[in-house]
Amino acid sequence: MNILIGIPAHNEEMTVGSVIEGIYSMVPRYDLAVVDDGSTDRTREVVCNSTAILVPLPCNLGYSNAIVTLLRYATKHHYDAVVLIDADGQHDPACLPGFIAGFEESSCDVLIGSRYLDVHNYPGGSPGRRIGTILFSWLIWLLTGKRIYDTTSGMKAINKKAIGLLLEQQFVDFHAEAISYLLWSGLTVAEYPIAVRERSHGASMYSALSCIGYPLSVLLMIWVSFIESRMNNRGAKKL
């Protein structure tokens, strides 16, 4: 399978270099692209000094647009799948060989690297995020009948079919709302246990204020995704 490993990065000069090195040491045969989301620090320079492909956004567009850029890049270059991994060093590149092998062996369209399949893997995380993840996990289960434990994971493997669907619709951060949309559209989503470390440098993209705005945005987009997927399915049946 022709896979692109993609990293969305914004102001991650302290960690992105070691993440790139880690990925190359674990899975050297895959292409690696880093989308620099308008960083104001040395992130772009660090990526330039590596052998990774730099996709430099001219300004900060946000996490979801950085992901969309990666998906568009993968589509343009006919990759069969994209594996997303965070630039903050929280995802251990040592998980990648198993994760990619699991994705290639399974028939699922999207594989999510889950820190909650084996809770002992996750050393911390804010209680707010943990509660939010549990609530969205229940919500997805209620609405789609499928239990996804880690709805906010940044580590995902997405195949061509899912990429096409994800590029048709706008999403908040490709979390619960994107998972629901894919499930309602008839795609298969599965989880794979991964180890997640605490962030060593930089700050999370979620501020205290976004603790209110984020869940509301995701809830609205779940509703929109439901309508959109129903309309798509109806259109497909008519054809």
Binding site: L54, P56, L57, L61, T69, Y73
Partner: protein, 115 residues
């Protein structure tokens, strides 16, 4: 409504109309938005200068005073305009994002090609 009030509202309408036309002439207001504002201003002036129309509107809206009708209509129109403008802003924002993404992908391809 008193004649004085009608004159003031008509003058305000005329000022807005001149402003909108001037902005359009200078290319600072897109013609599609200008049309919306010109229609709204003309409708507003029409309601003000034809009292039976305003009384009829008051009966339809269910307000006691004609001036309250104007306030209710203004609130409704401004609320709709806010949603319309935010929608236009979102469309433009998406276009900017799409262009920025394309620039980034093209830059990546150019750099890879030169290597």
């Amino acid at each position: 409504m008193k004649t004085q009030g009608i004159i003031i509202l008509v003058l305000i309408g005329a000022t807005y109309l001149a402003w909108v036309v001037n902005l359009t002439r200078q290319g600072k207001l897109h013609v599609s938005y200008a049309v919306v504002w010109v229609v709204l201003i003309l409708l507003g002036v029409l309601i003000v200068i034809v009292p039976p129309l305003l009384y009829l509107m008051s009966r339809v809206v269910g307000t006691v005073f004609p001036t309250s009708t104007l306030s209710v209509l203004a609130f409704g129109v401004l609320f709709a305009m806010q949603i319309y403008l935010l929608s236009q802003l979102s469309i433009l924002s998406q276009r900017v994002s799409r262009i920025a993404q394309q620039i980034a992908i093209d830059k990546a391809d150019t750099a890879t090609y030169h290597e």
